[in-house]
Symmetry: C2
């Protein structure tokens, strides 16, 4: 299975969401590709509703460390799991402590949510590793900074992925996340060591995101 | 105007939300009472949709300090304002720094959201005070702790509200929030110095919440 995850981050208005959905036709997606959309929490309900008859699944962009109870402003795993099969956890933009990320991983797992665990340094992987996760390497040398695309050679990515696979083993799902777009997707889609991509800015345009998905069809 | 705010905190499932809405008939609410519901972010869309033809308005339980952009997991004011007229800000359960609370107040105001600013100590009020806010006194001696109701005498509440009014003046909207329920609402509704209540646990039951609202009808 290849996973192609759209992380919309904090970019969309409701109109943007409606226009994205109407500009995205998921009927071409073959069963070997799992497309996942991660809207802002406030947009999860309408996105899940609009895509419920398609193969596309929903992720939250984060999960609370709190459970049910008096936690004003938190959205907990027991609420997220009703609409989302996945949750992005530990994204570098959240600047979270390793202990918090581990807590979130375990909360997801105990609620039947598959955590998409982001990490920048391969070293942190050994503390996160456990059954049932998807891992997403946010390559620190290749993360969009203020919209500027920082190109990295395919060789450097292969080298990094190799180091990660030494820790992770061959059977875990590993995604690449660092300025993924239609310019570099062919090389990423061709890498057998990767199980997909976590797409940021390029996922905001449904046509651009569709091109990224299409790169996987003949792989 | 009297404001009666239901802060559902992190308690509801989707089934709970559906059952709450079907158990709540807002048609009896007179125009002098503004009822506001604060669901979890993930439930704001369906709640706003279900209540759109009523006088009830929606609040978020928090707002991000971030604006539009690459902020995985955040829900920003520009997204909240599309569905919510209000946002609870600075609730004690969030344990936020005064500077963060002030930033959130200003982000709400610049997005046309009315912040319902929670505070425990009257002293913090002078830093928060500015036009266009609703203030909610989370009386530290009267906050539910683990579901245990901590009763406080009407005299003590009047004394506290008097101190707050010295800082706030007479014209600002001031709500009381501390274990508000059907047992103590008559006394709170009778206090002319208060402009309403912020209701926590007692708002989870639509019948209980309706009784609280009804206490204001003949005031």
């Amino acid at each position: 299975m290849k996973y192609i995850i759209a992380n919309w981050k904090t970019n969309m208005t409701l109109d943007d969401v409606v226009s994205w959905i109407s500009g995205f036709d998921p009927s071409f997606i073959p069963p070997k590709i799992q497309v996942v959309i991660a809207p802002s929490l406030i947009h999860i309900f309408p996105v899940a509703d609009a895509l419920k008859k398609t193969s596309v699944l929903i992720a939250s962009q984060d999960v609370s460390i709190e459970d049910k109870g008096n936690h004003t402003g938190e959205t907990a795993a027991f609420q997220i799991k009703e609409l989302c099969k996945f949750s992005i956890v530990g994204h570098s933009e959240r600047k979270e402590d390793t202990k918090v990320v581990i807590k979130k991983i375990d909360i997801c797992l105990s609620n039947g949510i598959t955590p998409i665990v982001c990490f920048t340094e391969p070293e942190s992987l050994s503390t996160y590793k456990r059954p049932g996760l998807i891992y997403a390497w946010e390559d620190p040398n290749n993360i969009s900074q203020g919209g500027v695309y920082r190109e990295k050679s395919q060789e450097e990515i292969i080298d990094g992925v190799g180091k990660i696979r030494m820790i992770l083993g061959e059977n875990e799902s590993l995604l690449y996340g660092g300025s993924v777009n239609k310019q570099n997707i062919a090389g990423l889609a061709a890498m057998k060591e990767l199980d997909g991509v976590l797409v940021g800015n390029a996922s905001l345009d449904p046509k651009h995101f569709t091109e990224i998905i299409r790169s996987y069809i003949h792989m």
